[in-house]
Symmetry: C2
Subunit: 196 residues, 2 copies
Amino acid sequence: MGMNVDLLISNISKHISLTAEETTFFISLLQSRSLKTGEFLLREGEVCKYETFVIQGCLRSYYQDENGFEHTMDFSIEDWWSEDLYSFLTQTPSRSNIIAGENTDVLQISKFNLEILYQKIPKFERFFRLCFQNAYISQRERINLILSAPAEERYLLFSKKYPYSQKRFSQKEIASYLGITPQFLSSLKKKTQKLK
Amino acid sequence: MGMNVDLLISNISKHISLTAEETTFFISLLQSRSLKTGEFLLREGEVCKYETFVIQGCLRSYYQDENGFEHTMDFSIEDWWSEDLYSFLTQTPSRSNIIAGENTDVLQISKFNLEILYQKIPKFERFFRLCFQNAYISQRERINLILSAPAEERYLLFSKKYPYSQKRFSQKEIASYLGITPQFLSSLKKKTQKLK
DNA sequence: CGTCTATTTGAATGTACTCAAAAGCGGTGG
DNA sequence: CCACCGCTTTTGAGTACATTCAAATAGACG
């Protein structure tokens, strides 16, 4: 596999320990893929066939509403997973899009192979349980933030939490993550810079 | 156990199959508790010691912001789980509150017993993986809804999805779930009733 | 019946959006 | 290397959605 599998293995090792054989077997179930900036990993209407782990680069997953506005659910950078989980689990058409924000390398496991993995190495049930617990917690934190903090505060917290974000993502994308218009984000930036 | 354990067992059986012995063992790890309306299952600052399954009644979990406003994260009715997951996993003080909205019966499993359960019956790793996957999906749907739909639409969808909600939860609570003030929800109700 | 809290109503305010236009920026081709 | 194109960002005016504050009304409960 011509890609840095170690990043994924070390991610997994934080939660469960694998023997050499198990590691090898796991790797045999993976496939690698590279995307160019702007290329889609998944388009609305397609079935999400893989769990995807980002080795390098950045993926953005978003929904498009009936007025054509995008709502960013996630920026997935190195060492993160990405997928449309509902589509993946039910093998029905996805409602979300996943696009590469940079040239991006990923490792993928198909639903079929993942089920094999669960059967052969049940420890992976634990690994993904822990992953989804953590993912669930962050989603709830985000909900709480949207419910309790005005846009300006959310923007400041976002900038603090993801300092690299300004360089990697466009204003428009960040706005669509925060749930505001790019115009309004622009005015927020001006306002907060004056305060410094 | 003087409570309807069957509801929990049948919930679990939808995802994994248990032998009679496993079922018995699992039940032996549970404890039951009853709460009166308005009683707290968990208060901010306490450590969340249990995963809680609602047998009957209703729990509401919410955060309180610095201005004293409540933000409802969940209404957990029969056949649902409730907990402050971050507090439960890390055994640190909880930031959320969980309160009974009605007289409520629950079954609980402690973190300690849950770890025993995972060791003795690894199938439960799978069960909770599936639970958290589903929970994760709903949280994301809620985020997408908040990002893409105005309050009026969110209210209508909420009423449709939880038709019993108007009877079981106060307007104030529903407003705090939707992310709006009770006053504004009141005006939305008036408006939408006129349309009929 | 009285008290407490929830709900309704209305006016004034503020946050965030829409629409529109100008300015900036990056890439591409001549 | 410059000119042009498309897209993003900025700016501003007008508007709409939602909040705050305040007061009246309705409901729940002892």
